[in-house]
């Protein structure tokens, strides 16, 4: 996307954002609550029309794509959604085939849904009402709906926020697996450690601008203090960054430490600034 600018009425949310995601690459969008991650994803999807700048997929400006064509290319998992009337797991995932289909689902649409249900491990739940699932199971269903359309771009808005440790890893593995080949992914995520582990690159958003973008190495204690206002220790663990939040920057004592090698392997991984809003 180029020089993307977006404002809600007079409130400037995004200013001149430039980001590129390659096929097969996962870009993590990081930033505090209200920094514009969801807004950015919605601009990439034409849920919101940017005030200026443009978003292109394979060179095609998305603003000029027909709605069905855009929906076929872009899979989207919203941060939250509220259905009016309950639908089953199967029906909900089947919705993701709509941009491909005519007026009614075909046999191949149904088979695609069965495969996704199988991959997500939702087997026993296919006819269950989505409203009666746990928050984490529901997030998996929404992810399934985005995957089942075989999009070339995946926009994920905190798809792991309600998942337990194991399912976080499972779902991220699945997302990364889907990217193999020619799919580009963008994920808004609050868990810095998960981002460091799975994202090829991360973009730190703050006050409507990209504070830093690059490989997970840009997650330095200094960057975290500036963007999140949190003192954190950043360590290395098996060649990955491990971020341990210590205290809010303005109240607590400075606990920032430079990155040190190793020896925190047996500590549990804490979640960083995890919120559900």
């Amino acid at each position: 996307m180029q020089r993307l600018t977006f404002a809600y009425d007079d409130e400037q949310i995004l200013e001149e954002i430039n980001l590129t995601v390659q096929s097969g690459e996962l870009l993590g969008l990081l930033g505090p609550n209200g920094s514009g991650k969801s807004t950015l994803l919605e601009c990439c999807n034409r849920l919101l029309g940017p005030d200026s700048g443009r978003v292109t997929i394979d060179g095609d400006p998305i603003a000029t794509l027909a709605p069905d064509e855009r929906a076929r290319r872009v899979g989207y998992v919203p941060q939250s959604e509220s259905g009016a009337f309950p639908a089953s797991v199967f029906e909900t995932i089947l919705q993701g085939r709509r941009p491909h289909g005519g007026w009614s689902p075909s046999a191949s649409d149904r088979e695609a849904v069965e495969r996704v249900i199988d991959r997500l491990g939702l087997d026993g739940l296919a006819t269950r009402n989505v409203e009666n699932l746990s928050g984490g199971q529901r997030q998996k269903v929404r992810l399934g709906r985005a995957l089942v359309g075989d999009p070339s771009v995946l926009l994920l808005d905190e798809p792991t926020s309600a998942l337990d440790l194991k399912h976080r890893l499972e779902v991220m593995d699945l997302v990364v697996g889907q990217l193999q080949g020619d799919v580009a992914g963008m994920i808004a995520i609050h868990d810095l450690n998960l981002a460091a582990r799975y994202c090829d690159r991360v973009a730190l958003l703050a006050e409507g601008e990209v504070h830093a973008v690059g490989p997970p190495d840009v997650l330095t204690a200094e960057a975290i203090r500036e963007v999140y206002g949190v003192e954190a220790s950043v360590r290395r663990h098996r060649d990955r960054r491990l971020v341990v939040p210590e205290a809010p920057a303005d109240t607590g004592p400075s606990a920032a430490e430079p990155p040190i090698e190793g020896h925190v392997a047996d500590r549990p991984t804490p979640n960083t600034a995890e919120t559900d809003d």
Binding site: E81, A84, R98
Partner: protein, 348 residues
Amino acid sequence: MTETATAVGERRRRRVGFLGGVALTLAIAGTFALAIGSVQVPLADLLAALTGGGTELHRNIVWRNRLPRVLGAIVAGGGLAIAGAAMQTVLRNPLGAPYTLGISQAAAFGAALAILLTGVGAGSAAGGLLATWLTPIAAFLGGMVSTGVILALVTYRQATPETMILTGVALGSLFQAGLTLLQYFASDTEVAAIVYWTFGDIGRAGWPQVIVMTVVVLAATAYFLRHGWDYDVLDAGTDTARSLGVNVDSLRIRGMAIASLVTALIVSFVGIIGFVGLVAPHVVRMVIGGTERYLMPASALVGATLLVVADTAARTVLSPVVLPVGILTSFLGAPLFLYLVIEGRAYW
């Protein structure tokens, strides 16, 4: 076969089975309704009369009297039910119904105005052509005014369900107040005619009205069948539906416009028939779940069956007195609806 395929296939068979079962019930109820009444027509004679044979008396009763009435009940019930289902979907609200949107009240106001201005009620048999068509046309225009205001508002503002419901409720009480005002200034006979009009009665519709209703209801059903999947996606929420390529605003506006048109047309021909549009979709949601692709046709079948049965009961229970079916559906519909709310609350 995978576990998923088995479970989903099983449920699909249940849905199709439900559709088939209701269709069969409707066929039986329809035949029964043709056969019974002040003159009983045995099945063999009924078949003969339908195919142009039999006695003149039977042919007259079946063709002039009962067939338009039964067909009228089928299309009116089916039309009200599919419009109710569509309104509930568009409004994302289980209370969506012609009454919530002020369409019924506006139609009643239009009819009352026509009765007052011409001095003839649809009830007076001597009214002739004027009475047959003027009152329904005025009622239809009334209903469309209410619809038009709602649609104009949501087109220029945002087409959110909340805007529609709030506008509908406001218009409903406005037209209700207008109706009361008209009745206050009306003579006794006019008040009687107005009150009589508001009780829905299928017998008011002759062949021409039945044909008009059939064409419109069939067209609306075709539209909702064609776009059932889109309405399914709409259920998931505005953002999700947009991200799946659905034009949310136009889908809402079109659904609303078609449902309102169907309702206003039916109400203007047969008067206010409460609860069919509300109860039928809820029965379907409770039995086979809320997938729009099945909900729409299944609601139409259930609504048609409900109204055929109710109308036949209204004709025969207090025979020779013929009750307006609107009274009966209100009496039966309210407890049925309460039962659904208490028993089946879990399904929405």
